[in-house]
């Protein structure tokens, strides 16, 4: 007998996505998070604009500096997004599935002609759409503020680079949304789910950058000669970079730097042989910047797929009964 299920697993996907998106956009939680992001981003943007105004030299990518320039104590707009995106994504996903159980709606919804696939994917897509709306609004705000306050329009390449950054930001948001969704499947309590997701975010964003070098030195200790000469042991550096890139925050940071600073030629150590003939500080074309960050970008997408699949498998194996 065939084990193939009848019908499409995506039946009802549109209805679930539309309902969840409407819930997100109308929820008080989302409004608070939006205001938090907009206000902090506005402060970072103000700092960047002040910095740019004080610069006298000409810069062909002045618009991109709106994203990358920081004025102490505020971080740059891109760095701020790297910090706030996980918060919003976790805020949207931590109670996606366990909330259905606690509101006792799960068995009623699943008794309608839909598969669990549509429910889980619908919730993920709705969260991602809400994040995309948020990020596009922020991008438009930055571009609009830049136009008004700098008085010059962005070049085509600046627009393309900032759009590529927007895509990377969305992939980064997808990672944290998929993680929050996984937590909401695994933990029946919404507070436990939120705490675990936030804990993992803090660990990868704050603790891991401190732990990774120590672990790298333990795995591949630098030799004495390198230490005495004050140089870097390439093995240690490779391990350190590899370990650092386990964190989605590091992948996003690498992507943001490369896309928004066109002069970035490499994300690892650079050897003299590699820069022979190169004009230091000269910007790379967008295609080459994209080639540099392609592994990071695909790494983010892979993380989304792995986390979503883990959530999917757990959800399919779960008993509907609470």
């Amino acid at each position: 007998m065939s084990t193939r299920r009848e019908g499409s697993p995506w039946q009802g996907l549109g209805a679930v996505t539309a309902k969840e998106l409407a819930d997100h956009m109308g929820s008080a939680r989302m409004r608070i998070l939006e205001w938090l992001v907009v206000l902090t981003a506005a402060a970072a943007l103000y700092g960047a604009i002040e910095g740019i105004r004080q610069t006298t030299s000409s810069d062909p990518f002045v618009f991109l500096r709106l994203f990358t320039d920081a004025q102490a104590p505020l971080p740059s707009f891109a760095a701020l997004l790297g910090f706030l995106i996980p918060l919003v994504a976790i805020g949207l996903g931590f109670d996606a599935i366990n909330g259905e159980y606690s509101h006792r709606t799960m068995s009623r919804i699943l008794s309608q002609p839909i598969y669990r696939d549509a429910l889980l994917l619908g919730k993920f897509l709705a969260g991602l759409a809400a994040l995309a709306i948020c990020l596009v609004c922020l991008w438009l705000l930055v571009m609009g503020a830049g136009l008004i306050l700098l008085g010059v329009p962005p070049s085509g390449e600046e627009v393309l680079r900032s759009l590529a950054f927007l895509c990377a930001a969305l992939a980064y948001a997808g990672v944290w949304l998929a993680l929050a969704l996984l937590c909401s499947v695994v933990f029946r309590s919404a507070s436990t789910s939120a705490l675990v997701a936030l804990g993992l975010w803090l660990f990868t964003a704050l603790l891991w950058p401190m732990l990774a070098p120590a672990i790298a030195q333990a795995i591949a200790p630098p030799d004495l000669a390198t230490l005495l000469s004050g140089g870097m042991d390439m093995d240690t550096v490779a391990w350190q970079q590899g370990l650092m890139r386990v964190s989605p925050a590091a992948l996003f940071s690498d992507t943001a730097i490369t896309l928004l600073s066109p002069a970035t030629r490499s994300l690892g150590p650079v050897f003299l042989s590699q820069i022979q003939g190169a004009l230091l500080g000269a910007p790379l074309p967008l295609s080459e910047s994209l080639a540099i960050v392609w592994p990071q970008f695909t790494g983010l997408i892979a993380a989304v797929l792995v986390l979503f699949t883990a959530g999917y498998v757990c959800f399919q194996r779960q008993e509907v009964r609470t």
């Binding site: 007998m1 299920r5 009848e6 019908g7 039946q11 009802g12 549109g14 209805a15 679930v16 539309a18 309902k19 819930d23 929820s27 509101h103 006792r104 709606t105 799960m106 068995s107 009623r108 919804i109 699943l110 008794s111 309608q112 002609p113 839909i114 598969y115 008993e319 509907v320 009964r321």
Partner: protein
């Protein structure tokens, strides 16, 4: 029983090493109200979830309108309305929006949606609360909204899990009336309850669950006869001559007791009011009152599990 629309054979379910259903089997005919009755934890909800394809049976087969819920869950879900125990809705949405969401999941045409929803809300007396947030609804209103969802779905089979649990007597009464209306519309209803006496009046047949097994199944009067013997008590008052002997000849009557002149208590295997009245009139007595005590499911259940009887 009409042609069966729900068939379960040898149904078993294990969670790890714990067996919660032991090869149960039953059939529900078209247009019938069938009760899965028994205490909490007896396996009623697990059976319902298997029927809906929401959990997989460890063994056995199920057919709903000829379809296997594991192989063809969408076909089954499209034709079965389900109201879970402690039915939940999205509190932040209105009753109308909650049902609109279900209507979209069901694929009801947009032009038809609101009319079907309002018609269903009207049936359960919630039309005036259509735009009210469900968060402000009472327990009874949520139950009625659950029933409205099934009515809107126009499902030929309705499965109601503990429909009267937590309701006050008045709400229970009106809810049972709604179930009877649903039956009158031609729907087949399978309901589960641990409140045996509450649902007794609406059930055509019942299956009594205990510890994952069906101990008894059949019509209530059949079960009463099987378990309690001459379980019906017909009380009759009549003026005129002593009709004790005439009443004793009524088929099914095993004993006639006369507590005082003119008052007769008959022990019978079934409801023999009509036959007893005829016998009294033919014997020349003037009939003054006639009543019957139908055996309660509660009494059947208590007697079954006290004595350990089973089918």
């Amino acid at each position: 029983m009409n042609a069966p629309v729900i068939t379960a054979q040898g149904l078993g379910k294990r969670y790890g090493r714990r067996t919660v259903l032991h090869e149960i089997g039953f059939e529900v005919g078209a247009g019938e109200v069938f009760g899965l009755l028994g205490p909490n934890g007896a396996g009623k909800t697990t059976t319902i979830l298997i029927l809906l394809g929401l959990t997989e049976a460890t063994q056995g087969t199920v057919r709903i309108l000829g379809e296997d819920p594991q192989r063809n869950p969408l076909k089954v879900k499209r034709r079965v309305g389900y109201m879970p125990d402690s039915v939940g809705f999205y509190d932040q949405l209105s009753a109308l929006d909650n049902l609109r969401y279900t209507a979209r999941l069901l694929g009801i045409e947009p032009g038809e949606r609101d009319a079907r929803i309002m018609e269903a809300l009207e049936r359960v007396s919630l039309a005036e609360h259509a735009r009210q947030r469900v968060g402000s609804f009472s327990h009874g209103m949520r139950r009625r909204l659950g029933l409205a969802e099934i009515i809107m779905k126009r499902a030929p089979i309705a499965i109601l899990d503990e429909p009267t649990s937590g309701l006050d007597p008045q709400s229970t009464e009106s809810f049972l009336e709604l179930i009877e209306e649903l039956r009158a519309d031609g729907a087949t209803i399978l309901l589960s309850s641990h409140l045996l006496d509450q649902v007794q009046r609406v059930c055509d047949r019942v299956a009594l669950f205990n510890a994952g097994r069906i101990a008894l199944a059949g019509r209530v009067d059949e079960l009463a006869r099987r378990v309690l013997g001459d379980s019906h008590e017909v009380r009759l008052t009549a003026a005129g001559p002593d009709i004790r002997e005439a009443l004793a000849t009524v088929p099914g009557v095993s004993r006639v007791h006369v507590p005082e002149p003119g008052r007769y208590v008959l022990q019978a295997a079934g409801d023999v009011r009509a036959e007893a009245a005829r016998a009294a009139i033919e014997a020349g007595a003037g009939l003054q009152s006639l009543a019957v005590d139908v055996p309660s499911l509660e009494a059947i259940y208590r007697h079954t599990f006290r004595t350990g009887a089973s089918t």
